[in-house]
Amino acid sequence: MKTFRFVLSLVITITLLYFLNTKRDQIPPLGKFMDPFAGFWQNGEKEGLNIGDELSLEGLDQPVTIQFDDIMVPHIFAQTDKDLFYAQGYITAYHRLWQMEFQLLATEGRISEVIGAQAVDFDKAQRRKGMAHAARLSEEQLKKDTEVHTLVKAYSDGINAFIDQIGYEDLPIEYKLLDYSPEPWTVYKTCLLLKQMSNDLSRGEMDLENTNLRGALGQETFDLLFPDRHPGIDPVISSGTPFDFDPLPAIAPDTAYPNLRIHKTLTNPNPDNGSNNFVVAGSKTNSGNPILANEPDLGLNLPSIWYVAHLNSPSYNVFGATLPGAPFVIIGFNDSISWGFTNAKRDVVDWYQVQFRDEKRDEYKYDDKWLKADQSIETIKVRDGDDVMDTIIFTHYGPVSYDRNFMGDGEQINFAMRWTAHDASDEQRTFYLLNKAKNYDEYVEAFDYYVGPPQNAAFASANGDIALWINGKFPIKWQEQGKFLLDGANSQHEWSGFIPHRQALHELNPERGFVSSANQHPADSTYPYYSYDYSYEYYRNRRINDRLKVMHNIRPEDMMTLQNDNYDYKASEALPMMLDSLDTASFTNRERVVYDLLRDWDYFAEPDRQAPAYFETWWSLLYESVWDEFDAFDFAHYRPSTYNTYYMLRNHPEHAYMDDRSTPVVETAGTLYQRTFKQTLDSLDNWKSEMGMNPQWSNYKNTTIQHLLRLKPFTVDNVKIGGYRNIVNAASERHGPSWRMVVEMTPNGPNAWGVYPGSQTGNPGHPMYGHMIENWAEGEYYPLLFMSAPATNNERILNTLTLQPN
């Protein structure tokens, strides 16, 4: 009896311990998680820095001083470069360890290991983009570049020093919720992170959709609905810039493109991933010094994509936004130069139809030969489930992403991906050089090593130069090469080479006194190389350039105002045309009120206005009803751009596409305006009664800075900010300015300001979590504290941490 009692209570105890130590569905292991000594309670932090003032670390050569200012930017002062980047890795991990590792797991296609079977398709897609292979090639290349490799390795060692030092109680809360542990960081992971940036920024394309649409619509309609460019575009490199070089040839072969219908395609990166940068020369500024402004518009997430740091050693004094997981400053300034990026959209991904010799898929056709294909067997580990295997075939183009095992629904569908990001590259060398560049020539040289993602790199220097280079590795293409699916068996369909860096598009000290870019077309039609992208910007660029042309005596505050400009260029063009077509005589009272509201609107999408909510709803209903024909397509497709929709409404109001196919009558643009105006009023009335408030723009669009795990309590929603996509202040629902920076380059050093929608700490349990969001929304900036030695008496320095070699 007594033995039985003991055995029974032992079994209950062990079962209970097991149960409370195991994660089940969304529920963390409750015993482990709730333990007040090591569980989530330990992730609550007090104000400020909770790390002590002195730490002893293995792997440092000399003591390193890190001072934290009032927005928790670390100012790192090291005596050697190796120690500097070691400390950068350490302190970035201290604030952002979970995020940097989770983003990497996503890139590697290993999310299933953490969250289970629901992520298997995502993981497969990630692996089929060939980024892991590309990162291995880049790591090999980096190993040959010993100076830079040493620093990237030091950064990685710094991250690992942090990981080695912490126990379960110190793990970021997300590890505890999902119940897993960090792995050691490696140089390979940093290489992979840069490939992930390419995935976000340069992988966008519509080659297969274009192939489908051209087949379905015919060439003429396709060209009308999806033109490469419109007259009067305002390109990055100002029109009239001479291109005085001999372009390398690209000759279109006299062969047909493959013509297929494809049903599913890989998800494109969000087309709202864009950015603005603009630099004004001293001739246009109040002080006579050039001023640079930049903001990359990316997904709005917490923890933030950027981590701001100030790096100091005998060879560096550089400040700016860093990517957690990679050393160096990506967007920033030193005492001589400042630089900023926008995405240089240009199709650098092409698809090749591959013909395998037989079922074994180990050889594929290339002209009159058979080439050998490689295989990579991928094992996707699944939490609480069986491993999933996937075989990826590699050709000399790249991975055969679409095949019988993935998104291919026929034996004909074997498409290999050719992407510049697949090539070995050493972008780290670019940042290694750029971070300490002293002048224009050194800035240009830094990008000799740069492959991608292609960027419009704006530049200003303390000695007064302003410039913009479109940097990246761009294939030389014949007209429309790679706009559609290409034939992998025909060697003439291959890229013939790359545009030499010194022939890249650029401007130095242009006469107009400024340079700018906003993801628009790179150049006007006189540029001798073919360039194509399916989603060039038509609005932000024109607004910025319109303003810069008329602005004089510019002060840094004026640059900030322009970064936060909410002028809705799209509305200014489309709305008068839409309103003019309404039958005002037959208005009801409700219609009259909204009509007047829109008529009186000055096109500024300010957060407290209601007009933008009415206009945007009206525009999207109109857009839907113009392109309703596309809903019937059962193949992969996309719809014409916003700008081309406006262009069609204006210039072809009676085109067949204006007809709403669900009604017996034949509609023209005029009928669509009338009908969608009424629908807009209904839609907004519904919204009002559902939400119980007026549709003020910021409430209506609900800009949300979302936690990477989409956990509501760690997310900040309904941010009171104006702007929208196609507006300079590009804050849409889930996208927007991810780091606003303004830098005035004076001969005595830079004056700089910055803000981003988040916080240095990534810990939702820190009082400062997300603390900059409010100022960001209001267009307020923080002065950036640039110094060349540790401060001894500066009221903005709140903590000093010394890292001692062990």
Binding site: K2, T3, R5, F6, S9, L10, I12, T13, L16, L17, L20, N21, L30, G31, K32, M34, D35, P36, F37, A38, G39, F40, W41, Q42, N43, G44, E45, K46, Y168, I173, L177, L711, K712, P713, F714, P764, G765, H766, P767
Partner: protein
């Protein structure tokens, strides 16, 4: 008296284990003390529950006050309760349950041992 002493000792050892062992150290703490101070099943069960439960609750409460509920107010939204107080109580109950059953295990183990000893003494 033994009841109170057992609670205090379990709480003290739970605190020490929290410093050095993973969370399941509390099971060892409650089992060990109950092995050394065995008692009637119900008494041991309750003292294990209170010894670990109260300490966990108190420590969670203290941490929460020190950090101004900064995180618990967010975590509570992930659970089907709506007040941080319940989260603190739940912490106590979870720790308490483990303490209770492991205490009982320690005590019943000792009792097997004691009976054998008694038998051998008299025979």
């Amino acid at each position: 008296m033994k009841f109170i002493i057992r609670i205090i000792l379990i709480a003290a050892l739970t605190y020490l284990s929290g410093m050095f062992l993973p969370w399941w150290g509390i099971a060892i703490a409650a089992a060990l003390i109950s092995f050394l101070l065995p008692g009637h099943g119900f008494n041991v069960f309750v003292s294990g529950f209170l010894g670990v439960g109260l300490l966990w609750m108190a420590f969670a409460w203290k941490t929460d006050i020190e950090t101004g509920s900064i995180l618990s107010e967010k975590i509570v939204q992930l659970f089907p309760v709506d007040e941080v107080t319940y989260l603190i109580l739940a912490t106590g109950v979870i720790g308490g349950l483990v303490g209770a059953f492991s205490g009982l295990t320690g005590s019943t183990f000792r009792q097997i041992f004691m009976k054998k000893k008694q038998k051998s003494y008299y025979s």
